[in-house]
């Protein structure tokens, strides 16, 4: 395996939840056809609004839930069934930090318990004293000092930031290669967010971890990540190097996301009158046809309603392609082709649509 191959890869992963409305059965398309690759020593951000399926991706990658379809590959090998020795080994390589530090630690157990368990589960057999020493070392790595004191505390005695550091230490205890951080700072006070982010960044670089950073805040993704993938309503809509995606957004949704981000020294890419405020995500039990963004897109074309756009390259370099799943970026011929076909089976009622 070459060093620049992905450690963990999701290929066309979908995750649907069966739901029962009164009598009627339905399916929530929480994640559809997402392909994502995580590389050693790199931070990949997934950005999207609430309900776009970010946590679902993290749960699938952490093997808390099986994908409905698609494939996960660890070090190039397709992963097997979620049981047995191989599954354990996977969990020893891929760890997750949960979104909500107030819910992710068991209220009845001490900090020491939370960190010692993964050590015992995944490490070589050790004496009690050795485990204790390692717990303290991990607490020091996440800057919870005096470690001896923190080890004895229970979650309710800790602040949100401290809890999140315990979560990080727990994940690191198994010596993973991949760390999945699901909005690790969204529940924290603004003043301590940077500290936790910097800690993650440092740990990621020190250990050469492949880090997935999930966030709804595109500004923090730009500051923090090497690569940014934008998610809308269960699908990835744009991806590429962090600078390129945030400075020259190609997908109208990404532009909207950047426009509505609190960043005063940026001008709107779309003219102000058209830029809609970010509303709620569409109903994922009945997602819009074609491009899922078309009902809210100020630049929607007839084709957008008909066909889901594939990924189109919009530039790149520096080792990573910049792409967008948007018909605006289709090469001329493809766009015409699509439109011709569109014209053929166009319904008279849809002509008036903007």
């Amino acid at each position: 395996m070459r060093p620049d191959d992905p450690v963990l890869e999701a290929r066309d992963v979908s995750r649907h939840y069966p739901v029962r409305h009164v009598g009627r059965r339905g399916v929530v398309h929480a994640v559809d056809d997402v392909s994502l690759a995580l590389f050693r020593g790199r931070i990949t951000a997934v950005v999207g609004e609430s309900g776009s399926g970010k946590s679902t991706i993290a749960r699938v990658l952490a093997r808390l839930e099986p994908p409905t379809s698609g494939e996960l590959r660890l070090d190039g090998e397709p992963v097997g069934k979620p049981r047995g020795q191989a599954f354990r080994k996977y969990l020893g390589q891929v760890q997750m930090i949960f979104q909500d530090p107030f819910a992710s630690l068991n209220p009845i157990h001490t900090v020491e318990h939370h960190i010692a368990r993964p050590l015992k589960l995944h490490g070589p057999p050790r004496s009690k004293a050795e485990v204790h020493a390692e717990v303290l070392a991990l607490l020091e790595r996440v800057s919870l000092t005096p470690a001896e004191q923190f080890a004895r505390k229970r979650p309710h005695e800790l602040s949100g930031g401290q809890r999140q550091r315990v979560s990080i230490a727990r994940a690191l205890a198994v010596r993973p290669e991949v760390l999945l951080a699901d909005e690790p700072v969204s529940m924290l006070d603004v003043s301590i967010r940077l500290g936790v982010l910097n800690l993650l960044q440092r740990l990621g670089h020190d250990d050469g971890l492949a880090l997935l950073y999930i966030t709804h805040d595109i500004a923090s993704a730009r500051y923090f990540a090497d690569s940014v993938q934008v998610m809308y309503a269960g699908r990835l809509v744009e991806g590429g190097p962090a600078e390129a995606v945030t400075q020259e957004p190609a997908h109208p949704y990404t532009r909207l996301l950047i426009d509505s981000a609190p960043d005063p020294d940026r001008r709107g890419v779309l003219d102000g009158g058209r830029a809609e405020r970010l509303g709620e995500a569409p109903d994922l039990s009945d997602p819009p046809s074609g491009c899922r963004f078309h009902p809210r897109c100020p630049l929607a074309m007839p084709v957008c309603e008909e066909k889901a756009p594939p990924k189109f390259s919009v530039g790149g370099g520096a080792g990573e392609e910049h792409w967008a799943a948007c018909w605006l970026h289709a090469p001329e011929e493809q766009q015409e082709q699509a439109q011709e076909q569109e014209a053929q089976d166009q319904h008279p009622m849809t002509t008036g649509r903007r």
Binding site: S50, R59, A62, R63, L64, F87, R88, L91, G92, Q95, M96, F98, Q99, D100, F102, A103, S104, L105, N106, P107, I108, H109, R117, P118, L121, H122, R152, K153, R154, H156, E157, G160, S167, R170, A173, V174, S186, M187, H216, D217, D259, S260, A261, P262, D263, P264, R266, R267, G268, G272, A275, R277, L278
Partner: protein, 323 residues
């Protein structure tokens, strides 16, 4: 004995921390009162039969005497010493309570948690079983079953009470398990590779502590009352003394109408006091355990909402600032 042991370990296990010095349960006045009263009865259950001045069955003393120096709680119609009956009966009544509550709680946890955690058809079957036992009228069934086990003493009665009394607790445990199994900390335990058995016993069940304890206390009261009712109706074991047996004989001899209060008030008061003490402990346990579990969920939902509002406001402000 087992009762205090259960309560105390459940409360003190998460002990050393600055805010939780001593046995936390005892910091609440109500709970402290409850624990003291209950402790006295546990003590009576242990030493009662030994310190009883007379053999409770021994007749031939002065008949229907009101309390005096010789008979502190008076005598019955056949000249038996009431104090000796109450002291001896304490052991039976409390034993029925302890054994029935322990068995019923164990059954409730086993069935409720399994149903809630495993889900699927296991849940369907166990829930159906629970619902059947829930609607079976407990007292008639108990009467029928104890009729079969006639003469077996207090133990079969305790078993029958637990068999008819576990269902309500099981239902509560199942509901709570369903809510806990989707908490992030349970998912986190799965994500580090904990095995299901350990997740249930170490991560989940301890968080059911409050409702397990209150279920135990409730069944304890229920068992003592049921045993007393059975004995009072003359359906209990007539070979051993319990508070219910004393009440039965008092009733049988019209003590209630002849004004021999010293005969029926002491056993009745004992039952009432045990019930009251358990309720007090339950209040204390509730106060102690709920603020740690409930507000956490509420707090973070609130925080999430506040944070969203903040982000939305910042977003709006940011846009206004752009020309």
């Amino acid at each position: 004995m087992a009762a205090t042991a259960t309560i105390v370990t459940a409360e003190t296990a998460p002990a050393p921390a600055k805010a939780r010095r001593g046995i936390p349960l005892l910091r609440s006045g109500k709970a402290l009162t409850g624990v003291v009263i209950f402790g006295i009865f546990i003590l009576l259950a242990v030493i009662g039969p030994w310190i009883a001045p007379d053999d409770p069955s021994q007749t031939g003393g002065p008949v229907l005497q009101s309390p005096s120096g010789a008979h502190l709680l008076g005598t019955t119609q056949s000249g038996q010493d009431v104090l000796s009956q109450v002291l001896t009966g304490a052991r039976t009544s409390m034993l029925v309570g302890v054994v029935a509550a322990t068995l019923a709680t164990a059954l409730a946890v086993l069935i409720g948690v399994t149903a809630g955690y495993v889900g699927g058809w296991t849940d369907d079957i166990l829930s159906m079983l629970t619902n059947i036992f829930l609607v079976i009228p407990a007292l008639p069934l108990t009467i029928v079953l104890t009729g079969y086990l006639e003469g077996g003493g207090w133990f079969p009665i305790a078993v029958v009470i637990s068999v008819t009394g576990w269902a309500f607790g099981a239902r509560l445990q199942r509901a709570q398990t369903l809510s806990l199994r989707n908490r992030d900390y349970i998912k986190a335990a799965r994500a580090v590779g904990e095995r299901p058995w350990r997740i249930v016993t170490v991560e989940l069940v301890p968080n059911l502590g409050a409702i397990i304890i209150s279920g135990f206390l409730f069944t304890f009261i229920f068992a003592i009352l049921t045993e007393a009712s059975l004995s009072f109706l003359g359906l209990g074991s007539m070979t051993t003394w319990s508070w219910g047996t004393t009440l039965y004989w008092a009733q049988n001899s019209s003590a209630f109408t002849t004004g021999a209060w010293w005969w029926y008030v002491p056993p009745g008061l004992c039952i009432a006091l045990v019930g009251a003490s358990l309720s007090l402990i339950n209040f204390g346990a509730d106060e102690l355990m709920n603020p740690r579990l409930a507000p956490v969920a509420k707090r973070n939902r609130k925080a999430r909402r506040a944070q969203r509002r903040q982000a939305a406001a910042a977003g709006a402000a940011g846009k206004e600032a752009t020309p």
